[in-house]
Structure formats: structure tokens, C-alpha cells
Amino acid sequence: MAHPLKGHFRKSLLAFAGLTLVTAVISLSLGSVSIPYKDIVKILLSRIPLIGEFFPEHTGPESIIILKIRLPRILLGLIAGISLSVSGSSMQGVFKNPMASPFILGVSAGGAFGAAVGIFFDLPWYLLPLIAFIFAMVTMLTVFFLGRVRGRTDISTLLLAGLAMNFLMTALTSLILFYSDPAERMSIVAWTWGSLSGTVWNEIWISLPVMVLGSGAVYAYSRDLNVIQTGETSAKQLGIEVEKTKIIQLITSSLLAAVVISFTGVIGFVGLIIPHASRLLVGPDHRKLIPISALLGGTFLMVCDAASRMSGEIWVGVITGLFGAPFFIYLLIRNRGETGW
């Protein structure tokens, strides 16, 4: 059954938004200290301007647990899930290939190398996101400029350049691992599998506007992305500024991914399977695919992070893989024989 929700886009969008919200509230209740839903809602509402007037301010330890520890973490999970899924949808569109991921231009390998450098040289912890971000962007821009052929962005050259830079940065990271002591090794490996623990509000204030603006830019060019699927020459002849669309999509999606992984470490698989799953639900039209991917990705990562918290902080990238890969295989089996993802 292809695209079961295709004809019901608005309803699906609403339903998924509700699902995201419910998942967030349930996640807030999970943890070593159990807090009743009633209190969670009260604590949250008391913090909202105007409405908050009607609720007495909560000051107990529950309030601190919810507002200082759980809420930022869950929000970053939501933001990361949205950013990575939107980024993946865009990359798969630009590359016209369902195998493309947010990390195709080397963002994750570059970021991991940056983090490894930071850990190896004992940089203060608050500088790790910065150095990871710098290396992620440098790697991405190198790949991007290698892929420029006579003033145009050549997709197959870009793919190969990305492959090469991914290998190079991974090899450099392993070189650092080789010379590291066991504690540093553990930290580096942990970074390459990602974690949302210890999220602080400042991370939200940076990643939230990037997510909003980035997703907005990707969405603004989503119809152009549809037309590009029928071939770049044809798209030009249909009035699409192909080169501009590709540059905006590639740079924005890499930036989306780079910012979140700088805070969380590399969380794989979300940006690959969520666009897939969404495409199976609503079809390949990017105007529908991108919003649905965002909600599904945000929900998925919050669930995975909840699992991570409940299991003694197993790296969240491990959980996305453990959940995601079997689901992916299931979709694969179910859709064998059907053409086109």
C-alpha cells in the first residue's frame, strides 16, 4: 500500500503534531524521580507568560528537575530530531538518492575529528561544541568547493568528494584515538555515538533559531526540489533556478546537522530513515515530506532519548540504530518489489 496518508496531509500533520506533544510530556515524566503528569503540566504552565499568572509558581525539587534537567534535554532531542530529519529529506532530494544523509558532505566526520582534537588537548568542555562545529563546517565547505565544476555544483563529484573527506576525517580521528589514553578514548567514542545528557538551556537558544530558520529555508525551496527530481536540465527549462536551489539546500542542511551534532555528538540514522518512512507515508512531494519528516524525526529522537535515559545512558546513536535498523529492514521487506522509495 503506497502512501497511505497522501490524501490526508493536513489531518496527518495535526495528528503528528499531537503525537509529538504527547511524547514530550510523557518523556518529561520519565526518569529516576517520578513526577505526576498533573504537576508537570502545572510547572510548565506557570512558566508561560499571561497564563502563568493563574498558576502558583512551583519551587520544589520537582520544578528544578523538570525545568533545569529534563526540559532542555527533551527540547534538544526534539530540535535535533527535527533538524536531522529535515536535513536528510533535503539531501536525499538534492542527490536524487534515498541513500543520502545529513552527513553526506562530511559534517559528522569533520565534527568528530574536531571533538577528538578538543578532548585530546584537554580543552575546556564548553569549547568542544565550538571546535566540533568549526571542523564540521570546514570539512563541509571543502567538499562543497571540490564539487564545484565550472561554476556549477556537480552532484556526482560532490558525492565522491564527500566520500573521500569522510574517510580522511575518520582516519584522522582514529589516529588521535591511537595516541589517546583510555579515558580520552572513551570520551571520543562517546562523542561519535551522541548523547543528550547534560543539555543546558544555552544550547537550546542557539539550536532553536538555527532549526527554525534552516527548516524554513529548506521548506521555501521544497517545490523547486520536486522539479529537480525530473532532471536538472528539465528543471531549468521549467523555470527553476537549479544552481541556487542546490546551494541553499546543501549549505542549509549541512548547517542544520552541524549545529545539533556539535552539542549532541553524532546521532546517526535519524536523518536517513525518517525521510524514508515519511516518504512511504505521504509520498515524495517535498512540500509534504519535509513537515512530516520534521515531526516524525523529533518524536523518534525523543523516544530514543527516553530509552537511553531509562537504560543508564546508553549512547543515543546506539539506540537510534537498534530501533531504526530493524524498522528499516521491515520497511525494506514490506516494500520489496515496489518501485521507487
Binding site: 523555470g239 512531494d285 521507487g340
Partner: protein, 426 residues
């Protein structure tokens, strides 16, 4: 009104390798023009040029009176729509979604398809018999269905000009006719101008008011089908012998190639090559590899063509370095011409020193009745350095003789050779 005007357009993909050369073209509104020519003659490049996918290096392209270098992609797409040879789409869009993409040039960034857009797409789908599978996935359609969807998308652009780039070459004869008939009807009833690139000469002859025959990026002929699809044009451009007939039913033209030879026989023929100055550089080797028996003359020792011939063990009449051809060598040369089946004359530079080679060509034609293939006789004057322009005059005299053929460049020699009848006396 002029729909397309090309002024001295030169363009291509690689530097210094122009695909279109100083091309001029004026296409009137409401016309149905066919573009034909061999592979690599620049047909598809012309379509890319008209839609500004490829910018001209020199010259200007005007669409509906406006220079396209000043138009936005959307503006161009509102005037001209293209149906390419094939389209590959990796994600499963429905046929209707693909057709609606034809409205792209009319929509703002955040605008969605409205009622009117839907209506236009629907009408185009009904016109192309694609409406009934509008909800099917595009990558599950057959080649013919898919191509009709792409035609529907082009019509949804509501263009004044439709450009077909070998749009029907993958389709079976029934679908070919169906699509071309639909488009012809739009041309006649709705004043849609059509420029259609064809591989198939008969399809071009059948549907087009005028035909542009391209040869290596240059306009070889342009006009009504019966003026363009003639035996002599086809021989010059395609290197084929063809018969052009009138269709008994509707009077349209059709072309059928004539086989005068069996190719394996022709390869045992002896070809005498008159060359010099490096003009036969790769040709000699290729001829030997193709299995022809080769002789060559008269070449000065140390000439690069001589070195090539010597290396390939080709029997060659030679002359001392830097000296004029003597009577003795000239006679040997004539003997070889007499013994050969075909005389091949390259585009070598002629001076007073080797003018006897041109005399030999003339004797080959007049005295020995040989079949002669001249490479690029049109530009003989550019390489004629004789004091009295002997070479140019001789070429003028022999060019229309029976048995004398011409090709534009060395590239075309092989195809032309295959079409020589028997060799020797006619």
C-alpha cells in the same frame, strides 16, 4: 512575428570545441520546424541554447523578439517548453504531480497550485490520453506513457513554442504517431510553434513545414522538406546514397537509403591516397586498420605523411625532400592511380612544388574514370598556394563530374567509402 532568431551563434561544452558554429536561424511564429543531422551535429545543443541552459559564446538568441540573456528562467519557461528524449525520476511521484510541475514558472515561492492550474493540467492530460492513469506512480509507467506525461507537462506550461528533443525516438511507431499527431493538431489549431529535433528523417519530412539540416554545427540547408531532403544533401551530410520518394497517399516525402555494396567486399578495395603536409596523419593508419589496400603519392621524404606511410609499410611514390615533383614520380603516381579502385584526395595544402598531384587527380577523373573522394573541396582556395590558382580551378572543373564525391572532413571518409559502388570503371 519571429519566434526564434539566432544571430551568428557559436557555442559548445569544451573550450575551443564549438558544437554550433556561427549559426543563423529565423523561425516564424506558428511554424513546425524540424531539425535533422547526424549524431554530434548540434541538434540537441540548439535546444539547450534556445532555452538558455547553454549560453552562447558569441552571437545572440532571441525568443519572441527578446534577447534571452536578459530573461529570467521563469520568463523563458513561460514562452518555451521542452520535451527531452528521456526522463528519469527516482522517487514515486504520481503522473499528475509531474504534469502539475509544468505550472512552476507561473507560481511564486509560497504559492500553491490553484483551481486554474489544476484545470490546465487536467486538460493537457486529457489531450495526451494520460488522464486515466493520473494517480499512478511515474516510475511504474511504460516508456510511451511516461513520455506522454512529459508532453502533458510541457503543454501545462502553456508555451508559445514547443521544443521536442528527439522526443519520440524511444517510442514504438504507434505512440510516435499518436504524440506527433497531437502536437501537429496543437500547431494547426492553437498556433503553437514547434521546433522538433529528429533522428528520423521520415518523421521530420512528414510533420514539418521546414527542415533545418545541420552538419557539424553549421547550417547545411534550411527550407521546405523537398528542398532539403535531396540526394545530394544527404550524401554530403550523412555520407549515404538515398532515394527520396513522394508518399503516394499524402504526398509527404520519405527517404530510403540505398545499399550499393556489400561492405566486406569494399574493404578489399585499393585506395590511392593523395596527401601531404600531415593532412593524412591518422587517416592512413585508420584506413589500413579498416582493411583497405593503400597506396600513396607523391610525398616528399621527411614529410610527416611520408613518415606515417613508411611506418605503415604503405607503397608510396616519393620525391626528394623539399623538391618539386618530377615527371618520373608523376608517372609512377599515375600508374598507381590507374591500378587503384578509389582515389582519395585529402585536404592537403597545394603549392607549386606539388601541383602535379592536382594534375594527377584531374587525370584520374578524366582519363582513368576513377571514383574520386575529395576531402573538403569547398575550402580549396584557403590552401591553394599555387601562383596561378591551379588547384582551385581544377577543383571547380572536376567537382561536378560523375564519380567525384565530396566530404566535409576526414571524419566522414569512412562512411563515404562504404558507399562507393564497384570501384574502378563505372
Amino acid at each position: 512575428m519571429v519566434m526564434i532568431r539566432l544571430d551568428e551563434v557559436t557555442t559548445g561544452y569544451k573550450e575551443k570545441k564549438p558544437v554550433l558554429k556561427e549559426l543563423n536561424l529565423a523561425m516564424e511564429e506558428d511554424q513546425f520546424i524540424g531539425v535533422v543531422g547526424p549524431n554530434g551535429s548540434g541538434k540537441s545543443t540548439l535546444v539547450k541554447c534556445i532555452t538558455r541552459v547553454l549560453d552562447p559564446w558569441e552571437g545572440t538568441v532571441k525568443l519572441d523578439g527578446e534577447d534571452i540573456s536578459g530573461l529570467s528562467r521563469k520568463q523563458i519557461a513561460k514562452t518555451a517548453a521542452v520535451v527531452p528524449q528521456d526522463t528519469f525520476i527516482s522517487f514515486p511521484y504520481s503522473a499528475k504531480e509531474v504534469v502539475l510541475m509544468g505550472r512552476s514558472p507561473y507560481l511564486g515561492r509560497f504559492e500553491n497550485y490553484d483551481e486554474k492550474d489544476q484545470k490546465i493540467a487536467e486538460r493537457a492530460m486529457k489531450n495526451t490520453q494520460t488522464y486515466r492513469f493520473r494517480e499512478r506512480k511515474i516510475n511504474e509507467l511504460s516508456g510511451g506513457e511516461m513520455q506522454r506525461v512529459i508532453v502533458a507537462r510541457a503543454l501545462t506550461q502553456e508555451p508559445d513554442l514547443l521544443l521536442l528533443d528527439e522526443a519520440t525516438s524511444h517510442l514504438d511507431i504507434g505512440h510516435k504517431k499518436e504524440i506527433m499527431d497531437t502536437i501537429k493538431e496543437k500547431n494547426e489549431k492553437e498556433d503553437l510553434s514547434v521546433l522538433s529535433v529528429h533522428h528520423n528523417l521520415n518523421l521530420a519530412a512528414r510533420y514539418c513545414d521546414k527542415i533545418l539540416l545541420l552538419d557539424e554545427g553549421e547550417k547545411h540547408a534550411f527550407g521546405r522538406p523537398e528542398k532539403v531532403l535531396t540526394n545530394s544533401h544527404l550524401r554530403a551530410v550523412y555520407g549515404i546514397e538515398a532515394e527520396v520518394h513522394e508518399h503516394p497517399k499524402d504526398g509527404s516525402l520519405y527517404v530510403s537509403p540505398v545499399d550499393k555494396h556489400v561492405s566486406s567486399e569494399s574493404k578489399e578495395k585499393t585506395v590511392h591516397v593523395i596527401c601531404g603536409g600531415g593532412s593524412a596523419n591518422t587517416l592512413l593508419k585508420d584506413l589500413v586498420e579498416e582493411g583497405y589496400e593503400i597506396t600513396a603519392g607523391v610525398l616528399n621524404v621527411m614529410d610527416s605523411d611520408f613518415e606515417k606511410a613508411d611506418f605503415l609499410d604503405i607503397e608510396t611514390v616519393t620525391e626528394a625532400p623539399f623538391s618539386s615533383i618530377t615527371e618520373r614520380s608523376h608517372e609512377k603516381n599515375l600508374q598507381m592511380i590507374k591500378d587503384a579502385d578509389i582515389l582519395l584526395v585529402t585536404d592537403f595544402p597545394v603549392g607549386d612544388g606539388n601541383r602535379k598531384n592536382i594534375e594527377a587527380v584531374e587525370e584520374g577523373v578524366r582519363k582513368f574514370d576513377k571514383e574520386v573522394l575529395l576531402i573538403d573541396p569547398e575550402n580549396i582556395s584557403d590552401r591553394d598556394y599555387t601562383s596561378d590558382e591551379t588547384a582551385s580551378r581544377t577543383y571547380d572543373e572536376i567537382i561536378d563530374e560523375e564519380g567525384v564525391y565530396a566530404v566535409k572532413s576526414t571524419k566522414k571518409v569512412f562512411r563515404a567509402l562504404l558507399n562507393f559502388s564497384t570501384g574502378g570503371k563505372r
